[in-house]
């Protein structure tokens, strides 16, 4: 079989090398964009060929690299990773197109973006934990360069903080992965980092707890969960537009993806024991992020804090340990990537015109830039979770799923939706409504066709997923149910019936 995943992961890396040798600098960005459409095409092919209704890993490839360490190129895609791969492959070309403001060291910039894509795609497809770690960690380098070289004001501080903060989590993750591999060696005779082999291990509850902690710390920093979120506002604010889009759109999902893929399945007992506590931290983060976002004077920082709040929803959905919660968590990862990605793009567009991000510097923009204002309001609604747009589906599923097992958590979290309306709509009001009281704002040009072209695909997906989420959900569901079955089989936890039977009956009918 054609190794389509290897192809998918390698194209951006090869493209990065190609970009580095492009002779004329004005050609670098167009060539980069063109090359980044290739992985998008492959991702489209994968989405098309993906068999819905199957829980296992598809397109699997297995090549042993080094027998004594039990490490190999084990990759596969299931319902959890499928949409994230599509999201990554979509956001990279979009952010490259939106990067015309980058004029210095364009080659390195485009190459960094493409290497970043390889790292992100690699994380989502890897089923060998050591290879997963390699991709998980390598993502830091291009993002560090993106923030540090092309960022604004306080970029070096933000870049170094980002790198060291997240690398600290990775250190314990690596220790956990190595310990797991050695444990596999003790139990099966040869060390292995293969995910499916590790699933068969018999891990004591104590060991599960320690390993869970090691993995969870790394992923919690990446998500980021309160109180480990302090790197995020700096990194988001100082990063260039494309950096913020990828950071919020995809990078944060590495954490939530890691929770689902590894913590839930490898350490089910520890997951069941601690789920209410982690969900509580997530709920706190939802409220905290939203409240802090309300008072931010810098609109980019506001969106950054809104990410803390939104990612809290995703983590809540995951640790609700119900079908709806997990489904909501997965779909919400995509939704947040689209909506927040679009918001960062929009902020970048106005920043290019005005070179400020202070909310108080704007006012009445709807009069001078009506198209821009329309897109902004639309995206804000998607982010808030207006019914008919994608955010609603995700948040609804998360709240429904978590109400089944953690009703108290769900009720508090619901206030986060209200607060989201407060911070986004209040920001909209201050920036866009009223008279144009600053002379600098009166001459601003509305969106150019290129900028609209950047936003339209995202907006279309927002509407599509909001109106007709079925294609996405029916690809996610089998994999999610599979995870829950694994938890039920290894612990005495039982998924609430409503969370399962209804949907299963539905499937039987169809």
């Amino acid at each position: 079989m054609f190794p389509v995943i290897a192809f998918l992961v390698l194209i951006p890396a090869v493209a990065a090398a190609v970009v580095m040798v492009v002779p004329r600098r004005e050609l670098v960005l167009p060539i980069g964009v063109a090359l980044s459409l290739l992985p998008l095409g492959v991702a489209g092919y994968i989405t098309w060929e993906f068999q819905k209704g199957e829980a296992g890993f598809q397109f699997a490839e297995q090549v042993t690299w080094y027998e004594p360490w039990g490490i190999g190129w084990n990759v596969g895609i299931d319902g959890v990773s499928l949409l994230l791969i599509g999201l990554t492959a979509l956001l990279i070309p979009i952010s490259l197109v939106a990067s015309t403001a980058i004029t210095e060291r364009v080659k390195l910039y485009v190459a960094s973006m493409l290497v970043l894509e390889t790292g992100l795609l690699g994380v989502f497809v890897s089923l060998d934990l050591l290879v997963f770690f390699v991709f998980f960690e390598i993502v830091l380098v291009p993002m560090y360069l993106l923030i540090g070289i092309w960022g604004s004001g306080n970029r070096i501080y933000a870049a170094v903080k980002f790198f060291i903060y997240t690398a600290f989590g990775s250190a314990l993750l690596l220790a956990g992965i190595l310990a797991l591999g050695i444990m596999a060696g003790d139990q099966t005779g040869s060390p292995s980092f293969d995910y499916e082999t590790l699933l068969t291990l018999d891990i004591s509850t104590t060991a599960q707890r320690w390993l869970f902690l090691g993995f969870a710390l790394a992923f919690a920093i990446k998500v980021p969960l309160f109180p480990l979120h302090t790197w995020l506002p700096d990194a988001h604010t100082e990063a260039p537009t494309a950096g913020s889009v990828i950071l919020a759109g995809v990078l944060l999902k590495l954490g939530t993806y890691g929770f689902i893929r590894f913590n839930l399945t490898l350490f089910p007992q520890a997951t069941v024991d601690w789920a209410p506590w982690i969900a509580a931290i997530a709920v706190f983060g939802i409220i905290y992020g939203a409240v802090v976002a309300i008072v931010q004077p810098d609109v980019k920082r506001l969106v950054a804090y809104s990410s803390v709040s939104h990612l809290g929803f995703i983590v809540l959905g995951i640790f609700a340990l119900t079908n709806q919660g997990l489904q909501g968590g997965v779909i919400q990862m995509v939704n947040h990537g689209l909506a927040t990605g679009a918001l960062f793009l929009l902020i970048g567009m106005v920043y290019e015109r005005r070179h400020t991000r202070q909310i108080s510097d704007f006012g009445g923009l709807a009069r001078v830039m009506p198209v821009y204002a329309g897109f902004f309001l639309f995206t804000a609604f998607a982010s808030i979770g207006l019914p008919g747009l994608n955010g609603f589906i995700g948040e609804f599923k998360v709240l429904l799923g978590s109400y089944l097992t953690l009703p108290g958590h769900a009720i508090v979290a619901a206030f986060g939706v209200v607060l989201a309306a407060v911070y986004l709509l209040w920001a909209y009001e201050r920036m866009f409504t009223g008279p144009v009281d600053k002379p600098e704002n009166s001459g601003l040009r509305d969106l150019r066709p290129r900028e609209i072209a950047v936003l339209v695909p995202i907006a279309a997906l927002i509407v599509f997923l909001g109106v007709y989420p079925k294609p996405a959900l029916e690809r996610i569901e089998p994999s999610v149910l599979h995870i829950l079955e694994r938890i039920e089989a290894t612990t005495d936890y039982e998924v609430p019936d409503f969370g399962r039977t209804l949907e299963l009956a539905e499937e039987g009918d169809g």
Binding site: V134, I149, I156, F163, I164, A171, L174
Partner: protein
């Protein structure tokens, strides 16, 4: 002499001939550095080839003991020197490192004029000493090899004597190094007092003795082991025996520091592995915890001080202290950790030479100074140099897809497997702190504006790398990346490179 084979000493003999050849040719004909290059290059390449022949021989016929003779407590089966997979592999690594380092130092050699021949000869002699260390099967022989290597290095450290700090460098290295040697000799004496032998192998050697007899005075033996660790800990600049490293690195010629640091690390840890993991294998519960403590102290001290440095060479010296700690982390696993250590020291040696070559190119314009501030904006002036140094920094920091990550994963796996999970976690967390100073170099090169005409020593125009520098940088960069993605060949070889 029946136990003697020419093959066992062939590589060292060839290098000795090379060293004498360079000196002799210079005295008699004064032919200039191109002829030295031919002689040196020829002998180093031949030595590597002979080491590979040894490697094949050992793989075919098994290890053999060589060059034994009567002596104190020795009989015919207790060798001074062994040819085993360990020494053959060590030979390949050490001679390759020497060759790479000499190419990197060649600009310095050419500049030194007639004294260049001495420099080359000293480097080769030192390489012989380093390899003899790896192959020594007797503590006395080990001490002699150590001195051969060290005394040559003391001279090299002060070779650019027109620089003020060169005197300090050589003097400090010599005095502290001699002190460490003295401690080491005392350790040998105590081991002899405790066991009645200085030989590792053979019927009356340490291994056999510890296997078969009860140590009457364990305290004496333990003190001896401790002093051996201290002496070797000094050579590999493990904390708290690292004080000399920053000053010596800073004052020594940049072109030579790569060899000084890399060669000694390789040989020093190889010796620690043979003496501790093999010779005192029975006593692993005594020395492994001590080594674990040294590892943690080295990593913490090295990292903490490296963060505070403003000079790249000093920073690399302190980072070397931390690296000594990381390598020691693998050694606590005993023999099982040896493949990991081999991989780590071999790749780290390459990274060191690459990094110091960049330092030497950038510093050649500023009189050998290497303030990190001089590197600001290097990415715009010399993109290739900056990219290479950045790669080396990422590799030393242990970022994936570089050989540094595989090395760290290997030693930590060995430590966890041996039950030292706490040590691996401590080392991993400290490695994150270490990111700060490695990243700082990248920050300065890529994210700060060039410091044009700012103060003395400002990097007004960084010179281009010469052809020799470019060759070394290409090799070091390629090896670091390739071994980060396809480490299997070296890992497999290292798994076979076990001592007798």
């Amino acid at each position: 002499m029946e136990n003697f084979s020419w093959l066992a000493i062939a590589p060292d003999g060839i290098l000795l001939l090379g060293a004498l050849g360079v000196l002799g040719a210079e005295v008699i004909w004064k032919p200039g550095h191109r002829v030295w290059a031919a002689i040196t290059g020829g002998s180093v390449v031949l030595a590597i080839l002979m080491a590979l022949v040894q490697w094949n021989r050992v793989a075919d016929q098994g290890a053999s003991l060589h060059y034994s003779g009567p002596g104190v407590g020795l009989d015919a089966t207790t060798p001074m020197y062994v040819l085993d997979a360990f020494s053959a592999f060590g030979g390949v690594i050490l001679y390759s490192v020497t060759g790479l380092a000499l190419v990197a130092a060649w600009r310095l050699v050419a500049d030194l004029d007639t004294r260049g021949a001495e420099f080359v000869a000293l480097t080769l002699l030192s390489a012989i000493g380093l390899h003899l260390m790896v192959a020594s099967a007797n503590l006395v022989m080990l001490f002699l090899s150590l001195e051969v290597a060290s005394i040559s290095l003391y001279v090299i450290a002060g070779f650019t004597r027109e620089r003020i700090d060169a005197d300090e460098s050589a003097m400090k290295y010599f005095l502290l190094g001699s002190f460490a040697s003295a401690v080491f000799v005392y350790g040998i004496a105590l081991v002899f007092a405790g066991t009645g032998t200085t030989s590792i192998y053979g019927a009356t050697g340490l291994v056999a003795h510890l296997d078969s007899s009860i140590v009457v005075q364990p305290g004496v033996l333990l003190a001896g082991i401790a002093m051996l660790i201290v002496g070797l800990g000094f050579k590999v600049s493990a904390a708290p025996f690292h004080m000399w490293a920053p000053d010596v690195y800073q004052g020594a010629p940049s072109g030579a520091v790569g060899f000084m640091s890399a060669g000694v690390k390789v040989a020093g840890f190889a010796v620690l592995a043979r003496v501790l993991a093999v010779g005192f294998e029975r006593r692993i519960d005594d020395w492994a915890p001590a080594l674990a403590v040294i590892a943690v102290v080295s990593i913490v001290v090295g990292t903490a001080f490296a963060i505070a440095q403003t000079d790249l060479k000093r920073m690399l010296a302190y980072s070397g202290v931390a690296h000594a700690g990381f390598i020691a982390t693998g050694l606590v696993a005993g023999v099982d950790g040896i493949p990991a250590i081999w991989f780590y020291v071999a790749t780290y040696a390459i990274q060191l030479i690459g990094a110091f070559t960049v330092v030497s190119v950038v510093g050649s314009h500023t009189g050998g100074a290497s303030a990190i501030a001089d590197y600001s904006g290097l990415a715009q002036r010399r993109p290739a140099l900056a990219a290479l140094l950045a790669t080396m920094m990422l590799a030393m920091a242990g970022i994936p897809l570089t050989s540094g990550f595989i090395g760290k994963a290997a030693v930590f796996t060995a430590a966890i497997d041996a039950g030292y999970l706490w040590l691996a976690i401590a080392a991993l967390v400290a490695a994150v702190a270490g990111l700060y100073f490695y990243l700082n170099v990248i920050v300065v090169m890529y994210m700060r504006a060039p410091a044009l005409a700012e103060g003395p020593g400002a990097a007004v125009a960084t010179p281009e790398a010469g052809p020799t520098d470019r060759a070394v940088l290409a090799v070091a960069g390629a090896l670091t990346i390739v071994l980060g993605i396809i480490p299997w060949p070296l890992l497999n070889a290292a798994r076979d490179a076990l001592p007798l």
